[in-house]
């Protein structure tokens, strides 16, 4: 079902759900989601359009400096809540499988803000993001990525003395014969594209916006 095929009432309902998410109005978003569910609108189309549009709009507000990290987190949670409501009418076998990204700040490094922004923005554009926090060992990254059947491991480092741990994860993946199983993206203050190339990372983000674009390139382009 294309958005153009919706009746004016259905379109209005999806628009108001989208607006409620953008406005971070949880009670309104939940109430409209319940209405969408009972209206007979294809829930997959509702997710595809209303939530995807809301994610884009929130991202634009972030880029424009109108929204900040808290609004990204709140809107991400709200999109999860609304999606879960709409998925009640989708058979388990038909729910869209999201690409999974395991993210964290590497061992020895406790800087979290940049990693949090990247994690939240990745989530807002539709990835299933598992944030392992800070000071995460290579073994933990790999173990979690295996357990979750993740598609990507994203590694943040803010110190020149912890950047080698980004390389360690990649080296460990190679040693374990797992390198081809996960895309690896790196970032953080002192990290450069040249360093990413040197350690053979697949992706690199100079900032959160670039990181999201690179994740999309790496995970969504392949279908």
């Amino acid at each position: 079902m294309e958005k153009g095929q919706l009746t004016p009432e259905e379109k209005s309902l999806l628009d108001s759900m989208e607006e409620a998410i953008i406005a971070l109005d949880e009670s309104q978003a939940v109430a409209v989601a319940e209405k969408v569910l009972s209206s007979g609108i294809d829930p997959k189309a509702a997710i595809r359009y209303a939530i995807a549009n809301a994610a884009v709009a929130v991202g634009e507000k972030f880029e424009a400096g109108e929204y900040f990290l808290p609004q990204l987190v709140i809107s991400g949670d709200l999109m999860d809540v609304v999606t879960k409501i709409l998925e009640r009418n989708i058979p388990q076998t038909e729910t869209e499988k999201k690409k999974i990204i395991v993210i964290g700040t590497v061992q020895g490094d406790v800087h979290s803000i940049g990693k949090n922004i990247v994690a939240t923005m990745l989530k807002s554009v539709g990835f299933h993001v598992v944030d392992l926090g800070v000071d995460v060992t290579s073994a933990t990254f790999i173990e979690k990525a295996k357990d979750l059947k993740a598609d990507m491991i994203a590694l943040s480092s803010l110190l020149t003395t912890t950047m080698p741990y980004q390389k360690e994860v990649i080296d460990d993946l190679v040693s374990m014969g797992l390198r081809d199983r996960f895309k690896v993206m790196i970032g953080g203050g002192p990290v450069t594209k040249a360093y990413a190339d040197t350690i053979r990372a697949d992706g690199y983000g100079r900032d959160a916006i670039e990181a999201v674009e690179d994740a999309k390139r790496l995970l969504l382009a392949e279908g």
Binding site: F68, L69, P70, G108, N116, T162, Y165, V191
Partner: protein, 460 residues
């Protein structure tokens, strides 16, 4: 009577359990509420609060924020809280003056007042950027230490140990490297004829930081130990390890924390409250006797954006006016532009003028935002600049400071995202005479003359 480390640890184990995300969001919700309650509004047209009334309200709001949500202990996943009475006692028990350094280099670090004439303590030296080798590190630090307008030097890091082994945090290489480099710094200050000079260094982990203390070849009791609060309003046991060492061995504890514009405090008003709240956290929980009250911007790699100058400056002013605490500002220590450029000097000056005029010292070294592993990415001339500007700004009034800040912002504000990279020591200093190359000296003198024209009274 101050809360003991044991009491803090107990609270970290028995305080309210809270999910980290919920704590983060509570910063957002509470600062939004306090912004309305205290009528706090950031006006970009006025990067400095020239009356102090806004700074007073920011102080009250930050204090309420800290008392309401406490600090989040990432080790135990609990909030550490203190009561209003305890906080007042903590503030009252903090010294108004400490002494640092030894012998002829012994100096008093005092509570500074807004627009105060008290001499700001300046600890310069190049932080963060790695040095290519031990000789280069020694040479640059010796030259930094020879400059009489700095009171102390920050230690740096070597790219590799013995030119071949990588330095990795949390491994023995970290301890070995930091001990080695602080010994080089000690030799450098002795060679400069200033053996009693303050030396400061801070490693990623507490074992390496603590390992640097050695009266003969390392950090001394007359220096300070850093205990870092994680952004925003968080603390880990690794931070408290440093505090415990400082308390046990009589080393002054210097706390440091940065609020994040665009982080969970979101807007500049929120970040200013967090800067105050986290400063109180450093006093009450980390047991700091002096602390850096800073701000970063999650989008721009410079610490002297218009918003950051307002955030850090207002928070410092609020703390200076409402307490007798010893505040460190160091706002100008992370320019977007690199060494050897006019923009570096403009950015650095803006931050250090705000720090000084608002009532702070500047003890966090010189550096630019590090990208990559470019070695020797700094020179002694940036240390001199930091010292000259801080000392010249002492006693300046806020209105004059605002005039200069607006002039400086006009010079660099539109170039923060495409700032010039600058150059390395090898290119900015004549390697034979160890003097700045003529072009860099010319840039330095021109910017100095510009600021002198605007009313900055340099001593030399």
């Amino acid at each position: 009577m101050r809360l003991t480390v044991s009491e803090i640890l107990l609270r970290s184990k028995e305080g309210p359990i809270i999910e980290e995300k919920q704590f983060d969001l509570s910063i957002f919700k509470k600062t939004q509420e306090l912004k309305k309650k205290y009528e706090i509004r950031y006006d970009p047209e006025h990067p400095i609060d020239v009356t102090g009334s806004l700074a007073d309200r920011v102080f009250q709001a930050g204090r309420e924020l800290f008392l309401d949500i406490g600090a989040y202990c990432t080790t135990t996943r609990r909030a550490i809280k203190v009561t209003e009475k305890e906080l007042d006692e903590e503030i009252a028990a903090c010294p108004e003056e400490i002494t640092l350094g030894q012998g002829q280099e012994l100096i008093r670090m005092v509570h500074r007042s807004v627009e105060g004439n008290e001499e700001p303590v300046v600890v310069a030296g190049i932080q963060t950027t790695p040095f290519s080798d031990e000789n280069m590190m020694f040479t640059i630090y010796r030259l930094c230490a020879q400059d009489r307008c700095v009171d102390g030097i920050w230690g740096g890091i070597l790219l590799k140990i013995d030119g071949q082994h990588e330095v990795i945090a949390g491994t023995p290489s970290e301890i070995y490297q930091y001990c080695k480099t602080i010994a080089i710094l000690r030799r450098a200050i002795e060679a400069a004829g200033r053996p009693g000079l303050i030396t400061i260094s801070n490693a990623p982990t507490s074992p390496a930081t603590i390992a640097m203390f050695d009266e003969k070849d390392g950090l001394r009791r007359s220096d300070y130990i850093e205990s870092t609060g994680m952004s925003e309003m968080k603390v880990a046991y690794d931070d408290l390890n440093r505090s415990a060492y400082g308390l046990a061995h009589g080393v002054p504890i210097h706390g440091t924390h940065s609020s994040v514009i665009g982080g969970f405090s979101a807007i500049p008003e929120g970040a200013a409250m967090v800067s105050v709240a986290a400063s109180l956290q450093l006093v009450a929980i980390h047991k700091a006797v002096c602390f850096r009250c800073g701000a970063v911007d999650s989008r721009i790699k410079s610490r002297v954006t218009r918003g950051q100058l307002w955030v850090a400056g207002t928070a410092i002013q609020g703390l200076s006016r409402n307490t007798k605490l010893i505040v460190d500002g160091s706002i100008g220590d992370h320019p977007a532009a690199g060494p050897g450029t006019k923009q570096y000097l403009y950015e650095s000056a803006a931050g250090h003028i705000v720090s000084t005029v608002m009532g702070a010292h500047s003890t966090e070294g010189t550096r630019k935002y590090v990208v990559g592993n470019t070695c020797n990415f700094g020179t002694p001339l940036e240390s001199r600049w930091m010292g000259e500007v801080c000392k010249a700004a002492a006693g300046m009034d806020r209105k004059q400071a605002e005039k200069i800040i607006k002039y400086l912002l006009n010079k660099y504000e539109s170039h923060l995202k495409d700032a010039p990279d600058g150059d390395t020591f090898e290119h900015l200093y004549d390697q034979r005479t160890l003097e700045p190359v003529s072009e860099y000296k010319r840039i330095y003198d021109e910017v100095k003359a510009e600021l002198h024209q605007l009313g900055l009274n340099f001593r030399n």
